[in-house]
Symmetry: C2
Subunit: 195 residues, 2 copies
């Protein structure tokens, strides 16, 4: 059937490149995470998988709050940096020159330069082996005013980053061409069904 | 500070467009899911958020297995269709002409036409409100031979789909230009730090 099994079992496309924020010992810190996904709608929920030893996880446990910041391609250098360095050794906010603000939860640091920011309260932390799976309730979502069109978030202005594992290595990619409208092109098959 | 709050709190970019498979009453069925993310590395884990009433969830609970299939842009019509229709009313495998195969778990249906297939065993089902958060262990990952280069998965051959919510509506987008190599461009800031 033309299939092979692969060693890297977590191979999915696309994965995001988010900056996860937490206050650690009252100072804002950020780490990069590709292993994250929306987990529910009402209430809005998100998961982030974080290695148990990560400095950011320490802060998440201290305050039981965290943030998910969606960087644009303009921040790819900072995004990569926050995945390579540890907050135990460097002040990433200073190095990246992030402007940090706080919202209603007061302890979840948000990056002003990121076009989209989710402010989250921890609901569960599941031990799933190498990683802690943090399940958070999204309390508020912020969008930069310059990424709106007609008052609504515009992905073409957000210019988000995908984290991609491929044969030549690991890389960041922008979003590309629009393939189809959702809840629309599938109707062609609804018609086909009645043939 | 140029930020506004938005009503849609689950606004992140990019989100995937996966086809989630389960045998329901011993017949394969698939639904589309954008609310999914990798949840751990060792062992490999994934989450999928599914509305409690979904037919696919019934099958997941029957067998405690499911699949995550990564469609390519060539399957965008089928991907959209599987998010619009319910398996209670239609045989999606027949309509979409999916060739289904099974792996080591025997009850998680996999779509041959999708370039990447994850075969999963349920570890947890968390009730997180409107959705059940299914946490699965990835038992095996399959890649189509024609999506390999030098024996490794090649994203340029996989051609995955992102599900995007934006000001003009909901749509599917391909991956676009390579912005930078990961674990590489961030080093520019490591240098900057020592200035």
């Amino acid at each position: 059937m033309g299939k092979v099994t692969v060693e890297n079992k977590t191979l999915v496309y696309p994965m995001p490149a988010f900056l996860i924020g937490a206050n650690v010992d009252d100072k804002p810190n950020f780490m990069t995470a590709a292993w994250s996904g929306i987990a529910g709608g009402t209430p809005p929920m998100i998961t982030v998988a974080i290695r148990h030893t990560r400095y950011t996880l320490k802060g998440i446990k201290q305050n039981m709050t965290f943030s998910v910041n969606v960087p644009s391609v303009d921040l790819v250098r900072e995004t990569d940096y926050c995945g390579m360095e540890s907050g135990t050794k460097t002040d990433k906010v200073e190095v990246c020159q992030f402007k940090v603000f706080y919202g209603k939860l007061e302890t979840a640091p948000l990056i002003e330069q990121c076009p989209v920011n989710l402010e989250c309260k921890v609901l569960h932390i599941l031990d799933v082996g190498s990683h802690a799976l943090v399940v958070g309730m999204i309390e508020e979502t912020y969008v930069s005013e310059d990424c709106l069109t007609d008052g609504k978030p515009d992905v073409d202005k957000v210019k988000p980053i995908s984290y991609v594992v491929t044969q030549s290595g690991r890389r960041y990619q922008a979003l590309g061409e629009v393939v189809a409208d959702a809840y629309s092109i599938g109707r062609e098959l609804t018609g086909a069904k009645s043939d």
